[in-house]
């Protein structure tokens, strides 16, 4: 049978090989099967593999797809990748940017600086073509496999049927050699926005489709445009209703043209037509090579639940947002970070299966936040009514002269990590006057620590490791155990470390934090209270006590 690719590959990384499972008389049972070899599937496989969980990744292609696609990676996903051992190469290759300019017609409205906060290992944002991002994760998997990382990737293995069977899932997998049957205790669906698994299971994906489309052109040029994000509303080139210029590595610039809903995609994608738009924007004299182009429409939608018995959805398969704000791949990485430790504890019998309800709660909370923000950006960039357009232009007119209007300009609210306020895993905040940014549910903010940084010291990824952080608060031992969970205690002083004080103590002389394996705060207290910590730990793993 034919097994045609749906897209062109940037790297052929895992060519199809026949597996022994295909010859087996009985379907072979795997603990965890990940479907999809994109950034979310690979990061999840790597994270679980590091925790000693055997993972089989099935991808219907043999490597990494072409095209820059998600180009903007935020601090939190970089921190997550750093823990998995591949954050640094991503940042080294990426382009760090802080300055943005907003134009309306032919005038500069204003410029902004992301003003990165000091004392973090990672920058607020980097730009990097998605294939590189995926390749760095894959390289890390390849590096660790010889040392025993229990991750296997099978290319040209396409799931054609799936069936929930109580305590496992049965799969039919198509290969160039025909189909074979597999079973999985847990199936992790990371198969993208069009998720075939979602369709096979008959699950909905509700939300809003925006009546507009964008033409992306990646162009290589030796131009001296600065490393800034330039966004035009109603650009003078007339090349689209809005336009975005963003620098990527390798002298490649990403240009997005908003071209409307009723377009002839085939016609627009013809090389001469793409080149004409780019020339109109850059000017006749600028020489460039066209690297890649594509047209996308955008949606804001999500599943009503991500956890369905033995199938768990993550990334775009579970939720999709418009690209404004870089909330797609960035939120997908936060899904994997949230899910891996929970699944590990469940597989080890240390937490009840119901802990997954908190994955639903927390990541649906995240998806709602992302959808809200990106819907608002979309409404500003592509106003849906005449009056909406009038107000949008009024904001832009005022913003050129008056500072107050600038916060109203919305060309994308850039991804920030999600705080799980109200999560069932949180314990009530017991640190009066503690910094709001470190309240229960928050992701830990980085801080300098000697020659290094705080986050690298909080919970190693080789297990689902809870961590106790004691700052200027005496704790008798170096570890604490409750409910079968061992938590190392990290004892620090904020003496002479004002950033640590500001981020974790606020007005308090000392504090004790219980941190989850994904570095979110589970609870905090002004001093060592072992009973309270044990109770918070039980709550954070969904134990009934």
């Amino acid at each position: 049978m034919s097994f045609a690719d749906r897209y062109t590959l940037a790297y052929r990384a895992y060519p199809y090989e026949k597996s022994a499972d295909q010859e087996s008389a009985q379907p072979v049972r795997h603990r965890v099967v990940v479907v999809g070899g994109g950034p979310v599937g690979l990061a999840l496989a790597l994270d679980l593999g590091l925790k000693g969980v055997p993972v089989l990744v099935l991808d219907d292609h043999e490597g990494i797809g072409m095209g820059s696609r998600a180009i903007c990676f935020a601090k939190r996903p970089l921190e997550i990748l750093d823990r998995l051992g591949c954050g640094e190469p991503v940042v080294e290759k990426g382009v760090v940017w802080n300055l943005g300019k907003v134009f309306h017609r032919d005038g500069l409205v204003y410029e902004f600086n992301l003003l990165p906060e000091e004392g973090h290992k990672f920058p607020a944002f980097i730009n990097l073509q998605q294939p590189y991002f995926e390749k760095f994760i894959l390289d890390r998997i390849r590096e660790l496999q010889p040392q025993g990382l229990p991750v296997e990737i099978r290319g040209k293995n396409r799931v054609d049927a799936v069936e929930q069977r109580g305590d496992h899932v049965a799969l039919t997998v198509m290969t160039p050699d025909g189909p074979y049957a597999l079973e999985a205790d847990w199936l992790l669906a990371c198969d993208g926005a069009a998720s075939p698994l979602r369709t096979m299971l008959g699950l909905g994906f509700e939300g809003e489709v925006f009546k507009d489309s964008f033409l992306i052109a990646d162009v290589r040029m030796k131009a001296d445009f600065p490393t800034e994000r330039w966004f035009w509303f109603d650009p003078p080139s007339g090349a689209g209703a809005s336009q975005l210029l963003h620098k990527q590595p390798d002298d490649v610039w990403r240009i997005d043209f908003q071209i409307g809903w009723d377009v002839d995609r085939k016609e627009e994608l013809k090389e001469e037509n793409v080149r004409r738009r780019v020339r109109n924007m850059l000017g006749e004299e600028v020489e460039f090579d066209l690297v890649w182009s594509s047209i996308y429409t955008f949606q804001c939608r999500r599943m009503s639940k991500f956890w369905h018995d033995r199938v768990i959805f993550a990334g775009d398969a579970a939720h999709q947002v418009s690209p404004f704000g870089a909330r797609g791949a960035n939120s997908g990485l936060q899904d994997t970070d949230n899910l891996a430790w929970k699944l590990k504890l469940i597989l080890d019998g240390k937490a009840p299966v119901d802990l997954l309800a908190s994955y639903d709660w927390e990541r649906i909370h995240g998806a709602k936040e992302n959808i809200l923000n990106s819907t608002r950006s979309t409404d500003f960039i592509t106003p849906k009514s005449e009056i909406s357009q009038i107000f949008r232009n009024a904001v832009l007119d005022l913003a050129a002269e008056h500072d107050f209007a600038r916060p109203l300009v919305n060309s994308g609210r850039l991804s920030v990590p999600c705080t799980y306020d109200g999560s069932p895993l949180n314990s009530p905040d017991a640190l009066p006057e503690g910094p709001a940014r470190s309240r229960p549910g928050s992701p830990c903010a980085d801080a300098p620590l000697g020659d290094g940084f705080l986050l690298a010291r909080l919970g190693d990824v080789s297990d689902a490791r809870f961590q106790i952080l004691a700052i200027d608060a005496p704790v008798p031992d170096d570890s604490f155990s409750a409910h079968g969970i061992d938590c190392p205690v990290l004892k620090l002083s904020a003496e002479g470390n004002e950033l640590l004080r500001e981020r974790y103590l606020g007005g308090q002389p000392g504090a004790v934090y219980l941190l989850r394996p994904d570095q979110h705060v589970a609870g905090r207290w002004p001093n060592w209270q072992p009973e309270a910590v044990a109770a918070a730990l039980a709550r954070a793993i969904a134990l009934e006590v």
Binding site: I387, I390, F391, N393, A394, V395, D397, L398, H402, F404, A405, L408
Partner: protein
């Protein structure tokens, strides 16, 4: 929390009303719409209080 003031608050109502209308004189519909939008945004920022603005929106919607 501040409340929307709907009592008589303008010392010279006729003058201000005339200025509002005058500002629109000689303008096309599109120019007038743009002016109104800018004016609303300026006043909204000056008021600042979300509850007051929400109350004003509620009253304005009801009066239509």
């Amino acid at each position: 929390m501040a409340k929307l003031d709907t009592s008589r608050n303008l010392a010279r109502p006729d003058d201000l009303y005339a200025r509002l209308i005058q500002a629109h004189e000689g303008k096309t519909k599109a120019q007038s719409d743009a002016l109104n939008a800018r004016l609303i945004l300026l006043l909204m920022n000056h008021i600042g209080d979300e509850a007051v603005i929400a109350e004003a929106l509620r009253l304005a919607e009801g009066a239509g």
